[in-house]
Every structure is written in C-alpha cells, then in structure tokens.
C-alpha cells in the first residue's frame, strides 16, 4: 500500500504546482490585458485643466490689478496686443508658432531686466515619445517704450539641460 501511495502523492503535488503556475500566468495575463485596455481609454489632462482654471482667475482679477502693473515693462507676444507684465508664456518662433516658452516663474522682475525659469516647448515630433519640452532660464532685456508703453524687446534663453537645436543659448527679438 505504501509504495502505491507515494507516486500518487507526488503526482498530486505536481498537479498542484502546475495549477499554481497556470493560475499565476493567467492572472498575469488578465492584468496585462486590462492594463493594455487602460492605455486605450480616455485620460484626464491635468495641466490643460489647470491652465483653464488659471485663465478664469486672471480674467476675474484683470480689472483690479491693471493700474499697479502698468508701471513695469511688459512683453508683447509676437508684437500683438498690450504688453503683459510677468507673462507665464511667450511665443518664441512667431513664423510657425512651433516653439513656445511656458511655465515661466519669474525670480526677479525689474524695470531693466527680468529673470526666471521655465520650459521651452517644441511641436511634438514623430514617435510620440520624442522629447518636446526642455528646461531653460529666461532673461528679458532691452526695455523700450513701444506704442507709449514700456516693453522688453529681447529674450535670452539658456538651456539648463538638453537642447532642442544644439545651441546652449539663444536670443529672440520680441515685441
């Protein structure tokens, strides 16, 4: 009896091991499948949502803040409209609108010069995962009176990491 019982116990254990392996593989497959589906679903866009909200807030503040800010030079994006002091976003290549300085935080904003950090964004290339944003330091220079109001006319961009074009420093003429 004993020597008949041993092989059956072994085969039961093997069956258990095979079952466990198959279960793990099946669960892994289900997880992988569900995760693959997740990537095909619509996701939220938190940064755009934040930009939407910020725009609304600024519109509400516009009336009250107008007088005090008028003293400092602003930035006329691509030469359009009124100069905006401490802009969060500046178009760099106005011809094709393919390069934009955004998320700018001004460390210092004076009458002669302003300095801040942010990212330079370029139009997404082929591949979808090619890098599209490059951290940089921005310096606004050369304030002048344009259409009766003070405005900076030059922007120097110094990339702090990778660069989109190979040059570490670029100077754009704005306004």
């Amino acid at each position: 009896m004993t020597d008949r019982a041993a092989p059956s116990r072994v085969s039961r254990r093997s069956a258990l091991v095979v079952f466990a392996v198959v279960t793990v593989l099946a669960l892994g497959g289900v997880w992988a499948g569900r995760a693959a589906d997740r990537s095909r679903t619509v996701s939220e866009a938190p940064k755009t949502a934040a930009a939407q909200r910020e725009e609304g807030d600024r519109a509400a503040d516009a009336g009250s803040a107008g007088g005090a800010a008028g003293e400092l030079p602003g930035v006329r994006d691509c030469g359009f409209g009124e100069p905006v002091p401490e802009p969060k976003i500046i178009t760099l290549t106005c011809a094709n609108s393919g390069t934009v300085a955004s998320d700018i935080h001004w460390d210092q904003y004076g009458r002669d010069q302003a300095e801040g950090t942010g990212v330079v964004q370029v139009t997404g290339g082929a591949g979808g995962t090619a890098r599209t944003s490059f951290p940089a330091r921005f310096t606004l220079l050369a304030p002048r009176i344009v259409d009766g109001r003070p405005a900076f006319t030059s922007l120097e961009v110094r990339y702090t990491g990778m660069t989109p074009v190979g040059k570490q420093t670029e100077t754009y003429s704005i306004a």
């Binding site: 793990v24 995760a35 866009a45 940064k47 178009t91 934009v100 955004s102 370029v122 995962t129």
Partner: protein, 423 residues
Amino acid sequence: MGIRGRIALAISSVTALAVVLLGVAVHHISGLERDRKAMSQQDEQLSSALQIYRRDGQLVLGAQLDAALPAPLAKAVAKGPRTYISGGEDPRVWAATRVGDRVLSVSTSFPKRDPLQKALDRALVVAGAATVGLMAVVAWFVAQGLSRRLRDSAASARRIADGGTPEAGAPGGRGRGRDEVAELERSVHAMAASLAARVEAEREFTADVAHELRTPVAGLVASAELLPHPRAVEMVQERAQTLRGLVEDLLEVSRLDAGVESAQLDPVELPSLVHGIVKRARGQRGVDDVAVEVVGEGRIVATDARRVERILVNILANSAKHGKPPIEVTVEGTRITVRDHGSGYPPDLVSQGPRRFRTAAPERGTGHGLGLTIAVGQAAVLGARLAFGTAPGGGAQAVLDLPEAVDGPEPGDQSGELRAPGP
C-alpha cells in the same frame, strides 16, 4: 533521469519561468510608461497652446480648432480636457479641450513599434537566455556535488550489502559539512557499521555453535551404538545422524561465510559428472524419480566436482522434499537445470535468495533451510551463478551456470585454485 539532471532541470525551469514573467512585466510596464509619457507631453503642449490661444487668438505648437477627433475623445472632451491614444492604421496621441463652443486639440503620430522598446525587448531576451543558461550550468555543478556525495553513500551501503566492511574512520573524513547530505552519509555509515557488526556477530555465533556441538554429537553417535535395545539404538542413531548432518551443514555455512573456502579446479566432462552425481544421489534423502537429459554436445569444464555435487545434491534433496516428482535434470553446454513438478519456490526465495533457517514448510522439523544456502555459497566459490525461478508450466526450477573453462593450452593446466569471493 538522475537527481543531477532533475535538479538542473527544475532550477532552469523555475529561472526560465521567472525570466519570462519578469520580461513580460518589464515589457508591459515600459509600454504603459511610454503611453503615459506621450499623453503627459500632449497635455503639456495643449496647456501652452490653450494659454496662447486665449490670450492672442493664435494657434501654436500644431494646435487645431475643431479638428476631427476620435469618437471616444469627442464624447469625453465635453466633461473637460482629455488625452487619448487612438488605434487603427495611423495611431496618434491626442489632447483636446473645449474653448467656449469650440474644441482645441493637438495630436502627434504614435507608432506601435517603438525602436526603444524593440531594443529593450531584444536586451530582455538576450539577458533572459543568458541567465537561464548560466543557471543551468551552475545548477548542474551544484547538483553534481550533491549527487556525487549521495552516490558515495549508496556505494558504501552497497559495499556493506555485498559483505564488505565499512571504511574505518569514514564518518570523520567523509561526513564533511553539516548539511542534510552529510547527515545522511553519517547515518548510512552508522547503519552499515552496526549491520556489519551484527552480521559478524551472527557469523561468529554460527561457527562457535557448530564447533562446540560437533564433539558431543560425535560422542553421542558413538555411544548410541553401545546401547542394548536394538530399536532404541536405531532411533538414537537416526536422530544423532540428523543432528550431525545439521552440525556439518552449519560448519560448512560458517566456512563459506568466512570466505576461507577455495575451489580445486579440474577439467571434467559435465554430462558424465552430472550422471554420476544423480546416480549417487538416487535413493538418498528421498531423491527417487530423477531423469537426466543432455542437450547438444557434452562440454569439458574446469570446475570442482565435489562442490558441483554438493550443489546438485542439495537442490535435488530440496526438490524431493518440497516438490513433486518427476525431477528433470538438463545439461546444456555449461548450464545445469533442475526442475520438479511441485508448487515452485516461494516468492521470497526467488526474489531474495535462500536464507538460513527459513523454510517454506509451515511445519517444523521438515528442513532447516541450510541446503539451498550452502548451494548458493558453493556456487559463489566456483564462480558460478545459481538462480531460482519457476519452470515454464509450473514447478520449481534451479539453474546453475558454471563459468566457461579458461582457455588454456592443455586440459591439465586448467586446474587451479579459485578463492571464495567472501560472504
């Protein structure tokens, strides 16, 4: 498959499984990360494009107004800004948001096969294959060490089983390490040593008893002849003879056990030797109805005729006592087969060989189980093989295979001495 192969296979299989699972997980997670990164970048671009569009009414960074959106995105964008990866022939990653009544969106192509991911997959396959190969080799060597130690233990146990003595001082020298195998080695060695000691004690006991009994029994036989009553003399003599036979057998067993027996090899013609043995045996110890058949040409073999006779007579006596007539003896080449027409040898005897004082007869006094033990011992001294089995058609069958004669120039030169291989 040996334990070495099994261990190597098991470790390699587990490694392969782990590598495959890990590879699939890494591939999958890198795919998810690529999706997430692409959507986050589109979100960032849309955020910048939205700010500029609101401020200046300009479309930057490839943003479009009221472009044809994929259906799921078009539906979801009503609830707020959304990103989406579309499938189909031209997979694209999208980000879209409402601006008043209009929809601002950016999209860029998102090929399914990413060169970076392809390179990662290739690296995973190469690293996985290398790991499995390496683990198989490592497992093989680890298992080889284990297997060698187990084989050593088994060989040591087998040596004891074949009658050898356990190696002196072996547990100290061989039981290196403190793992399970070392423990097993020590246990096997201890068991072997204990068994060997017991067997040795049994052997000595048999020899001592036989030797001590011999003298009083001889005296008893001689004294019995002096008794006055003829019937009493007959009875005492008969029992004393039986007792003497038993003592002689015991002495023979103990000599065979001690391995001091050696064969005197002389060239003999096997058929005539067998005929002579059967003739002498007929009428003794119940051997009666025996027929000898010679198949093929009679062979001359170099053997010890006295020992062959001892073997054959014991087998014949056993057949006469426990089997049924007729008993058939067949000589074919160097093989002698003895069969009867009884119920055959007990299964224990066929599988394990005869054992002293073990007999198939349920009643006591019909045999002491020494006859076949002696036959096997004598066959070992001759270098012959004696096998017990069942004859075709039923009945016990014993087959004695004598060794082929050593090729010598003259039959006379074939004589020599063959030592017993030991118990």
